[in-house]
């Protein structure tokens, strides 16, 4: 049997549906818990709606990007497997394509070549899925991350705040610098989005319109993306 005959079958969509359903259920449960706890603590409903709006606006760009980038995976293997891996998947599309190639090599075949058979496809499905085991296991043991943090900081609220603030600045310093250093449109995208974001957040403070912050990241990332594209051509 040719691997392409089964690659987009109902089975893989159902597998993707099961993991997506579990992910959505977990998110829904956490959302209900967090929101009801906040409301019981005196947070007005308008404030939680504002948080939701901010997150939705911010999510639009990255989600569209995920879909567009997913095209490569869907074309290379199958839309069903792309959904199963990316819906509730851990790897980026690039990582997934690397894992397919690794699996093909392990099966003694070459991905993208006529030599790629059902054996290679079965290996790719297994390796792509199992490659994310570490993150899933870390999620299972999340409660111990909190305990480790408590132990390291002695529960000192000032030190906890320092650790979180340093982590935020450092993570995005690293990702931004590693992209900006490529130069050309990448540098422009990072710098323009950085300045736009700082300006828009400050503008919201100056204008005393905190709800404007809901839009700040979403607008800044689109402005940066378009600037990068215009510069690079």
């Amino acid at each position: 049997m040719d691997w392409k005959e089964v690659a987009n079958g109902l089975w893989i969509w159902i597998c993707g549906g099961i993991t997506s359903g579990l992910g959505l259920y977990m998110a829904y449960y956490f959302y209900k818990r967090a929101v009801s706890f906040m409301h019981n603590s005196g947070v007005p409903k308008e404030e939680t709606r504002s948080m939701v709006r901010g997150a939705v606006i911010t999510a639009i760009g990255p989600v569209l990007s995920n879909i567009f980038i997913m095209i490569a995976l869907a074309v290379a293997i199958s839309p069903g497997l792309a959904f199963q891996r990316e819906g509730v998947g851990v790897g980026s599309v690039f990582t997934e394509l690397v894992q397919v190639s690794n699996a093909a090599i392990a099966a003694g075949e070459k991905f993208g070549d006529p030599s790629f058979t059902m054996k290679g496809f079965a290996a790719a499905v297994f390796i792509m899925n199992i490659a994310g085991w570490g993150w899933a296991v870390e999620a299972i043991f999340t409660r111990y991350l909190g305990k480790a943090r408590e132990k390291l900081t002695g529960g000192d609220p000032k030190l906890l705040a320092v650790i979180a603030a340093c982590s935020m600045v450092a993570v995005f310093s690293y990702y931004s610098v590693s992209n900006a250093i490529k130069g050309n449109g990448f540098l422009v995208a990072v710098v323009v989005s950085l300045l736009s974001s700082m300006f828009l957040f400050k503008l919201a403070d100056w204008m005393k319109r905190p709800h404007f912050k809901e839009w700040a990241l979403g607008i800044a990332m689109f402005v940066g993306m378009i600037a990068g594209k215009l510069y690079a051509g």
């Binding site: 089975w11 579990l22 992910g23 829904y28 956490f30 818990r33 706890f37 603590s41 308008e46 997150a55 911010t58 999510a59 567009f68 997913m70 869907a74 839309p79 990316e86 509730v88 090599i105 392990a106 499905v125 390796i127 199992i130 490659a131 570490g134 899933a136 870390e138 999620a139 999340t142 991350l145 030190l159 906890l160 320092v162 650790i163 979180a164 603030a165 340093c166 982590s167 935020m168 600045v169 450092a170 993570v171 310093s173 990702y175 610098v177 989005s193 950085l194 974001s197 700082m198 912050k213 809901e214 990241l217 800044a220 990332m221 940066g224 993306m225 378009i226 990068g228 594209k229 690079a232």
Partner: protein
Amino acid sequence: MATVREWHVDPVAFERDYLKPIHRVGTITSTLIFLALFLPSIWLYFITGVFPDWQTILTGFGLAMTYAIPFYISEPIAYYPIVGNAGWYLCGTIGNGSNLRVPCAAVAQEVAGVKEGTMEGELVAAVGVTVSVFVSVPAIFFGALFINQIQQFFPAWLLDAFNRFLLPAVFGSVWGQFILRGWKYAPFAFVLALVPILYKVHSAWALVICVLGTMVVGWAMLRFLKIEA
């Protein structure tokens, strides 16, 4: 209108009514998602009778782990302090931490005016991360379902812009937001990001150096200079 900055979280109630059920459901659901990773291969075996042999699995797994293991170490160190418990359950199982979950958590915290690393920050981050899941999972489903139409509907230059420049723009915009909130750490974080990159350190280890290095600087500023976040 009351601002969220004024609300008070009772630590006992937070532990009992929020964290405990979050951990219970998070652990069970994460375990089920972990087990579901094997489902496609088992199902494929029943359809085709083909299952990779042990030699193939071990070789492929070994190749995959050379890439993944450094990130298994760096990502919880980097993301957990920002997204908290609920956020990390979702980052670990659903992924897209840096480009989607963390930015959504950060903007929700900014809108709410709460500090990260606090109980209030954890609750607000949970809202941001969960909402990003509500948006991304259905969107990916419909995106995969209508992949051909999407390719035809959007102009090539826009697809190219998203493919190449959205990610650096996401990182730049979130960086800008975080520089405003943690400006005193930004110069150190910048240097600690740049140097490992210039020395071509593996990206996951470079991230660990940058994050842990900045945390040490922050600790030293608090310990010796009494500078708080």
